[in-house]
Symmetry: D2
Subunit: 309 residues, 4 copies
């Protein structure tokens, strides 16, 4: 009945309720950049897996779920996305998804951690699949917020905000606030679409997600259409929340047929977010609406969200 | 950066990839019946939680997600469920959900583990909420398969199969086979609806679910409508799969309006499976269809499914 | 090669180097007094085991090692111990060891945690073996330091200080200082013997032990003979350090024969600390003398020892 | 009160009672030879540490304790050790200890795992300290038993058997049997001294140690003097047992003065096994004698010891 552990493990604490011990068959790469520690490991069933600061980031098993959700709903919603910004997105897979759309003329990825990207280029080709070398890609290593602020009016059709969770009072904290969302809006075109990863959509810890949703909903003049959506990321062992905020187009009005048409036209193939599943990923469970009412608050630079669990 | 553990934990191995250590604030009840070991614990954020054989079963945080999915799609699909059978369902919450429908005249729960039920009655009132004492309830402690076999033609409108996963070659193994499903069908009315919990719907371990689906799909003459559905159960840290097999009614044809009407008419209130979310829970991700093709096989008493991970 | 955990565990962090997960077959008793949380568990091979604040305290497997070392070297060194004080010693086993000497007329045990002692009486009879009901026993529930201070001149022949480690800035911290040792001395007879448990004697964490040793060595006028000694306590998974401080008698001058004679005369039987092993338990490894030189400091109420690892 | 884990760990199961999770700051080297998997890690407080098959082998913190005990009692007992065999001893530290004696003319180390030794040479210089390159060293990669059998009459003055525990039915199992000990004796000089590491000397698992002791005691004609001894190895978190078997000289007759004289004469410096501690390391606790009576059995090729816990 009882059994005990032998082997190598990476442990991650997920709220006070549970700690995960991931079985490691092999540590492939380990290191430390100016910003974070990283490990790439082989994990049984998950395959190659990236940890940043001992938080699991993505595994070969299902990175496509996260990265398609991160990119495709916004990309497909825009009728003609030519200019795209990816904020963060170190693995290069969000960029990869954006570049699938043959409408894209330029994709600017702004990730502050150059050392990490250099490592990713070499050791995580299954993720970026050459996206960094796509002639349409511009890769910048600076603070995403600062860059967008300096590029007000740049007219990005789509901005994909794939940033680390605001884990402690630190730089990422100010990339989940109203001021940041306004900066994004100001760098977007008049029919621009913004999408962000917004943290856990689990009933156990929906706090970051619902406050981001509340904040964007509070910007009706800027973003008339704000829609939460989610998917289950096996690697994270929880449903994950995203938010789409749009200046002109409403994702709920996109039909399965129209999505299929655009994907076909633009040469896009996906595995999780598909025309068929579009509406279900936008159907949030009631508990998230309850949490929005009870726990959602407008996040500002003065009172940002700080992950505490 | 590093931190280490102090306290009480229940550890559960979930495939070779990961072990979960649940933090325990207090062990409320512990014991061993003829069939299984159990613990009821207080877990931070999860609240009161039941473990059977060191597998987490349900917690106050989100037992409603599992139990609504287990019961409500089948119950609401039947136009007038009067006679219901619950196979297994020890916590009494599947029974509770069925009894919400005021059409029900008799609900027969068949759970072999009398000692466990006696314990549940006393220590898990938040789950059963008095369902065991409902005058419509008949509670039997025998093997569910044997009982249904002996009650061929009993005419159950709904059969809810809430049985433990077929973890090892053991009794539960023969409650996930074509022969068992046939026995269920034979005890059902002509427009009867069968629903079962069928295990993980995660990309990491969809094997049991897709083989149950394959098996029921292979019984077209008996069940013309077989539909997989799923929901994310936070306590299980994965999406969970269910299957509805119906002799006459197709859940995909139920509209949001009709479900709302039936719920209102029958006095049913739910929190996760609602008219609004009905269609999204029946929208399985593509990876499950792929797994069905690749790994699904027809389960029989001769070649049953045995959980190996 | 790999294996993973299933079951119930108590985890204890032992320095930054290692965390111990003790396998629990059953939690027998759990609770919380005014001072501490406790669990009594069945652990494979260890048998019944006590945890206080998630620190393992003693198990049936080898509690005799700790408690004999805690009591017998001091007891046997005194030529005629009639009056004994036990400070702390909640399990009642230090008291039990002292009472083995038929010379003892009165044994005063001062343990502040009355609730814990009440629990121990009922659930840990294998430890106290009736010692609490011995007519020679006086059991007091007050602060040991305060009691001894108020009983200056009481003339205890032996004082056994079996107190919890000074884990954080808290009450126990002031029971490991020069001032406390002086209070003990003042309550002792002119040829009194003091012994204390002083924490880990492992090369990994000898800091508390060597500072207690340094402190008592700094009290030459009071205690001309100060001797560290140690034994391996399997349950603690490390060698454990004790200190004997004596006003008149030197344990190093006791011969094997004399110890055997006294034990026989007084009706004492032991299993770990025996006449044969006396000298080896007083033979500390060199690393402890090195640690004494490098890390030992005189502990005072103003600058006490606080366990930090 | 509660805390949870974050970081990298190596887990080792130590009997059913407890699992150790060692905190890893960095994995320095990892690999797999024909015979075993290995990791070299930085562990807080322990420093650089070697794991073989996920069993902790030695750390910089206290490898000297194990390796001095492994080598020095036998080396110093022989009046003039010129020819030494080291069986196993992969880290090169047992060899290093033997070579400290300037009487040694030739030290033959026989370790079957050439790949491991090649790795050790490069990555564990703190252990071997150049011993592999000492002109007196002969390094062979073959089975130690086979080599000694083929070198009957070789006249080794000292044989140091530093072999892995007989963990499962495998090659090491036949290096803990009477037949192996006889082969060693036959390759030794008339006044040869044999020493072996014999496993845990903890009250929790003394089985291998006491059976090795019983076996060697059963060879009185060959080894008139058989003495168990032990020391606490912090890295192993238990006291560790060794056995010295001698054809002519009895370690119990060596005085502190004589050991000091020999060490001085031969230029040997030690930190744990010293003239002062010699007698205490040979003073086994009573529980080992009890275990010898109850659990000790003569080990043979037909009925060897196989570690089961």
């Amino acid at each position: 009945m009882f059994s005990q552990s032998t082997g190598m493990f990476v442990a991650e604490t997920h709220t006070e309720a549970v700690t995960w011990y991931f079985t490691v068959e092999r540590f492939l790469v380990q290191g430390k950049t100016q910003y974070q520690e990283y490990q790439i490991c082989d994990i049984p069933r998950f395959g190659k897996t990236l940890f940043l600061d001992y938080k699991i980031q993505s595994s070969l098993l299902d990175e496509f779920i996260f990265h398609e959700l991160m990119s495709q709903p916004a990309m497909v919603l825009h009728p003609n996305p030519r200019k795209v910004a990816v904020c963060g997105g170190g693995e290069g897979a969000t960029l990869r998804e954006a570049l699938k759309h043959n409408t894209v003329e330029k994709a600017t990825m702004i990730d502050i951690d150059e050392e990490l990207i250099d490592m990713v280029r070499v050791h995580m080709p299954e993720w970026h699949q050459g996206a960094f070398d796509d002639p349409r890609t511009e890769l910048l290593h600076t603070d995403a917020r600062k860059y967008l602020q300096e590029n007000k009016g740049a007219g990005f059709d789509v901005v994909l905000s794939d940033l680390p969770d605001p884990l402690e009072a630190g730089p990422a904290v100010y990339l989940f606030t109203k001021e940041y969302f306004q900066i994004c809006a100001d760098a977007m075109s008049d029919d621009g679409v913004f999408a962000m990863q917004a943290g856990s959509a689990s009933i156990n810890y929906p706090y970051c997600f619902v406050s981001c949703l509340k904040t964007l909903q509070d910007m009706k003049d800027v973003f008339p259409y704000v829609r939460g959506y989610f998917g289950f990321v096996c690697t994270f062992m929880m449903p994950w929340g995203f938010i789409l905020a749009s200046k002109k187009h409403d994702p709920l009005e996109l039909t399965e047929q129209e999505i299929a048409r655009r994907f076909a036209e633009r040469g896009v193939k996906t595995k999780y977010y598909t025309p068929r599943t579009h509406h279900s990923v936008f159907t949030l469970p009631d508990y998230l609406y309850e949490a929005l009412d009870q726990h959602g608050r407008v996040l500002t630079d003065a009172e940002p969200f700080v992950w505490t669990a």
